[in-house]
Amino acid sequence: MANVIELKKVNKEYGTQIKTKVLFDIDLAVEAGSFNSIIGQSGSGKSTLLNIVGTLDQPTEGEVLINGKRTDKMNKNELASLRNETLGFIFQFHYLLPEFTALENVLMPYRIQYGKVPKETLERANELMDLVGLEKVKNNLASNMSGGQQQRTAIARALMNSPKIILADEPTGNLDSDTSETIYNLLRDINQKLGTTFVIITHDRRIAEKADRIIEIKDGRIGLDI
């Protein structure tokens, strides 16, 4: 299988006067269609790693290749398109737009790219809402939904443009264990049905163990890679 994500000697430093190095020479390749989990203590650099993979953050040194293309050679608009079409994000705090309904939030990535929403796309968005079990509350404003519902909306949104890769940063970090379980099963289902590549940060070992591959980040280096 081809690698959809490739990191070559990625280093990351923060700060200008007092430099804090967060990532040290990370080499990582992720195969298409795989389900990967990243574990590690807080402050180990796993979120930074994910943000760098997601092109939200730039490495201080090293190369990031998404679909075989170097992201450091892309301009801001190309990066925006890449994020929109190839990557889907699920953040810990769900990050929906509170001014919009659940369905509108799900449609947002499509509208950013193409503008007007045709009927088929609306149907697809509705199917995604069904998939995450939110058909009944899809017209609620994002701010009027429970945490679990918001998180599931965020998942549906991440899937909207059928991205090749979904990056999730502790998607169940603030949910109870039953809901977490449901959401992981959902992600796994999507992975198997649609062949979407997943990279998920979690500190829940139980969940990490269900992944195809576990990558442990320790003090900015890859400690364990099973």
Binding site: S47, N51, G54, L56, D57, K76, N77, A80, S81, L82, R83, N84, E85, F89, F91, Q92, F93, Y95, L96, L97, P98, E99, F100, M108, P109, R111, I112, Q113, G115, K116, R157
Partner: protein
């Protein structure tokens, strides 16, 4: 583009109270501008109307030795065709005379007018307080003040001593009140024929008077007229003769513009600062949108649209407020007889200009937050939750 507009609209709708406050801020600016502008324009129109509204605004006189114009009919036609702004073009035959009544002499100006056309300028038919128009041969009208001072009443005969030499008698047909004491004392109005025979002008006249539909174009039109008519005639206009009034009007206009500009600057600063805060309020949303791949330009557009929408809402609200205020002013600030103290001048073009100005200003004010939004890095939001 449409998405940015939709997001802007949704942001505005989501915080209705704040949106209303900003729009109200713009509206008050616009309404003050409209109110002050209408007030000053109304004042100026009122002032111009009372000072030069009932007098000749462009006057053509002869440069010849006798100061008389021969064969004036073609001249009237030529003037009428020269500029569409010109109206109430009327021939005048006038001269200085000594009027005597009851052994008293008065120095007067006898003005022979063509009543049909001159009425447009002097509104004599409205200003006649006693008797009739002096349409008959050797009939005259005298001013109210002269009538009171000399004790002349309608029907009396008065005699004139002119350049002709022999005293001539005319009958007082009416008394007018031009609301200017000086004119009421010194003017005696008759038909052209009467004046021509009083002064032996034959068929000649002394001047052609006229008004303009746009009084402030008088100097330009007069200049054109002068070049058309040639050197034998002299074209004068009210602007050249009323420099003091003009500079007064100018001063008023300038102070009105100053007020308006400062009102708009304060509106601009208000909107800019509130919109700058909304970027911070919405930085989370902008970060999410950017993580989802919205382009920086589209992220800026959201705030430009917010400025535009606020400007439009504020302008509409401001026009309603301003016109309402102006209306209330004319309704409640009235003289004892019920007429408004100052007739406001509601100028649609001026109102439209204020609206366009307010919309432009609020869109400009949103450039600052738009720039901020464009520069916002999504990682800041993601990392800090």
């Amino acid at each position: 583009m449409k998405l940015a507009y939709n997001i802007a609209l949704r942001f505005l709708k989501a915080s209705k109270g704040q949106t209303f406050l900003i729009a109200l801020g713009i509206a008050i600016g616009v309404s003050v501008q409209i109110f002050i502008g209408s007030l000053i324009q109304g004042l100026q129109i009122d002032l111009v109307d009372t000072t030069i509204g009932s007098q000749s605004q462009i006057t053509i006189t002869s440069q010849s030795e006798e100061k008389l114009i021969d064969d004036y009919q073609p001249l009237l036609e030529q003037v009428a065709e020269s500029d569409s702004l010109l109206q109430h073009i009327t021939p005048v035959a006038q001269g200085q005379a000594l009027m005597s009544y009851d052994e008293e002499n008065y120095s007067v100006l006898v003005r022979g007018l063509d009543f049909d056309t001159a009425d447009g300028i002097y509104k004599l038919s409205d200003r006649l307080v006693d008797g009739d128009m002096a349409t008959g041969d050797m009939e005259v009208m005298i001013g109210l003040d002269l009538s009171e001072e000399a004790g002349i009443a309608v029907g009396d005969d008065i005699s004139f001593l002119t350049n002709v030499g022999q005293p001539q008698t005319a009958k007082v047909a009416g008394v007018f009140d031009l609301e200017v004491a000086n004119l009421n004392k010194s003017w005696i109005i008759s038909s052209i024929d009467t004046a021509q025979s009083l002064f032996s002008y034959d068929d000649r006249i002394s001047s052609v008077e006229m008004q303009l539909s746009d009084v402030f174009a008088a100097d330009v039109v007069a200049e054109q007229l002068q070049s058309v008519l040639g050197d034998e005639l002299l074209v004068n206009n009210w602007k050249a003769e009323n420099a003091a009034l003009l500079s007064g009007l100018n001063g008023q206009s300038i102070s009105s513009y100053m007020i308006q500009v400062f009102v708009m600057i304060s509106v601009l600063l208000g909107i800019a600062s509130v919109l700058a805060i909304t970027v911070i309020q919405k930085s989370r949303q902008i970060g999410i949108l950017k993580a989802m791949g919205i382009r920086d330009s589209a992220a800026s557009l959201i705030f430009l649209f917010q400025g535009l929408l606020l400007g439009i809402a504020g302008a509409i609200l401001g026009i309603l407020l301003g016109v309402g205020l102006a209306f209330a002013f004319t309704k409640f600030a009235v003289d004892p007889d019920g007429a408004p103290i100052i007739a406001l001048y509601i100028n649609p073009a001026f109102i439209a200009l204020s609206a366009v100005f307010a919309i432009t200003v609020s869109t400009l004010a949103s450039l600052i937050p738009a720039r901020k939004s464009s520069k916002l890095n999504p990682i800041e939001v993601i990392r800090n939750g």
